[in-house]
Symmetry: C2
Subunit: 367 residues, 2 copies
């Protein structure tokens, strides 16, 4: 039972199929990895992945779907490189570590291009190294620049366990969202976003590929004076085949999307994810004397449930005993400590039920 | 028999092993793709890949070995972003299409950072769209800037079939080499280069990972005012684990490197590659009335053998008949036409022998 924060569990049927056709893809006598990215076999896979993502997320026609490399971390820089022209400024909303990282790289990228960035809102409590995040925004907390090139939010914060349910209203400013850790985990109204980007390794596939969903106008309006390889328009104009894409990673993305579709689409996935989160938060709330989730109720993440035990020693014991019962990946991020349960799409409800049972048992013994 | 120009054939034992352990890596009950990039299982793979590359290529201690994403195409921009500080200039040697591409992206990247690029030598014959390349440099042809930040060369040109045997002497200027299409295909004196970069999908693994071998001083001297994700020092300081690397691609790189080692190292691989190239060029030269290789003898690539037949119709027939006999990937690049035979490491000598036999037969029937 793999509760890793990412790279994370992948659906078993997807891995089984990948295994079965690893050496001979669709009777071609070659692995999909050995096919040219410009050949019919791979192009079929590539285009099916794009069209499945469009279907499942309900992506409107006016949006591009692109595959890039470099992880969400590269997007932290690439978004401002494309969208911040000279003299323009972008707004950032900080609700955890990843928003801070996005801001830091945006600052460097903006400085190169003659633009700037500012913090439009932050829910940090405390300052400096000991700052922590326990909630998303409350209404009216954004001090937005109505002339900003874009407003950037992080949909789900994997380290702090904070997730948006209602996204902030950016007014007329394009909303750009890092959805790496909760994309495809629930239904989302894509039309509210100017751009969504997501590293694949939580809910969509293996590491090594980033999915971008962006309004065509945004892509077209991007800077033209940066190297072609960093321009979103280059990917849009070439169906993400400008240079060799990470073909095997995209093949696995297609597999995961097929699995989501066969499972009943995002409605069913959302139901499962709600159920898994309810199981773990339920166990936390039942044993408040042992488990403490620092995140405010309306901001609790379905994807990464974080909680503390009364002492680091008990936390170590919790992780160790869970591991003995076959549950791994539960140690909190080194920067915050505690326990973290990652419940991405490929984690079955049954695993969450088993973990909740273990939590009940552990609490009774500890209490 | 896969003669694709890349993504290309991978060694069968590597694919077989990947298949056998795809769902359960080393008895962990999980795919290597599902392991954390910070866990012991993956780190063992990652570090073994680095150490095998060091052994096989004889990389001196003063060099970093890094894994990045984005393909060689991203390096076209990332090299000047890192190495060209304001007011500095870099020199480019052009011996084919990929050198031209590297130059074009370097121009855009240099302009952003206040640096410049220039052509130190080009073997193009003809001008504009109809320019072609049929050889590497002759001694004395470089008009080098002794103050250049670096001199960039493309070791092997996959479209024009032109390959360096003797690399140019850059004087005291750091030599930076795009070795994407012939890395690991022969012994090379790494100490002559300040930096080597290579997309994996020809000789090292699948697409989605780039290998960089660079002098530590070069990495340390790189610009610090670009976003951290683009700085080579970020990868060096974090053993290429700053953000999530393409773990499965690196796992396959390890497999390919193990296979090279078990096969007898670069000495044996070089012997095979020489033999394969001799087989195909031998067939070309035996039937000069049918096959014409435009590349000068001392510049002929071992990796990509290009040749023409007397008419496009005969070329189509050649490709079609070869395909009927199980040989694929032989069509020349759309920009130059003709035939291209890619003979990367994983192509066995036997396939080259079969193709040479087919070429003899085809020539007799055509002649």
């Amino acid at each position: 039972m793999n509760f890793n924060p990412g790279p994370a569990a992948l659906p078993l049927p997807v891995l089984e199929r990948a295994r079965d056709e690893l050496i001979d893809f669709a009777g071609t006598g070659m692995s999909i990895m050995e096919h040219s990215h410009r050949g019919a076999a791979y192009e079929g896979v590539h285009n099916e992945a794009i069209s499945l993502l469009r279907q499942l997320m309900g992506i409107p026609d006016g949006y591009e779907v692109l595959f890039l490399q470099g992880g969400a971390s590269q997007q932290f820089a690439q978004v401002p490189m494309n969208l911040l022209s000279e003299g323009r400024s972008a707004d950032y909303v900080l609700t955890g570590h990843w928003g801070e990282r996005a801001l830091a790289d945006a600052e460097a990228a903006a400085a190169l291009g003659g633009g700037g960035v500012r913090v439009a809102a932050s829910t940090a409590s405390g300052a400096g190294k000991s700052a922590t995040f326990t909630r998303v925004l409350r209404a009216g907390e954004i001090n937005a620049d109505t002339h900003a090139a874009y407003l950037h939010v992080t949909s789900n914060e994997t380290i702090h366990g904070v997730q948006f349910t209602e996204f902030p209203d950016p007014g007329g400013v394009p909303l750009v969202c890092d959805m790496s850790s909760d994309v495809l985990s629930r239904r989302v109204d894509v039309s509210r976003f100017a751009m969504i980007y997501a590293g694949a390794q939580k809910n969509i596939g293996p590491s090594g590929v980033v999915v971008i969903v962006a309004r065509k106008e945004l892509v077209e309006a991007g800077r033209k004076d940066i190297p072609a390889i960093f321009q979103y328009r280059t990917y849009a104009a070439n169906n993400s085949l400008y240079n060799t894409p990470p073909t095997f990673a995209i093949y696995l993305v297609r597999g995961v999307l097929q699995w989501v579709k066969e499972s009943g689409g995002l409605e069913q996935v959302e139901r499962w994810n709600r159920e898994k989160a309810d199981l773990i938060y339920g166990a936390i709330d039942r044993h408040a004397q042992v488990y403490n989730c620092p995140v405010e109720r309306d901001s609790r993440s379905w994807m990464n449930v974080v909680f503390r035990l009364p002492s680091p020693e008990q936390e170590s014991r919790f992780v160790k005993e869970a591991e003995q019962q076959g549950m791994i990946g539960l140690k909190g991020h080194r920067s915050v400590g505690g326990i973290r349960v990652s419940l991405y799409n490929a984690v079955p409800v049954e695993w969450a039920r088993t973990l909740a049972g273990f939590m009940d048992d552990f609490a009774r013994r500890a209490g």
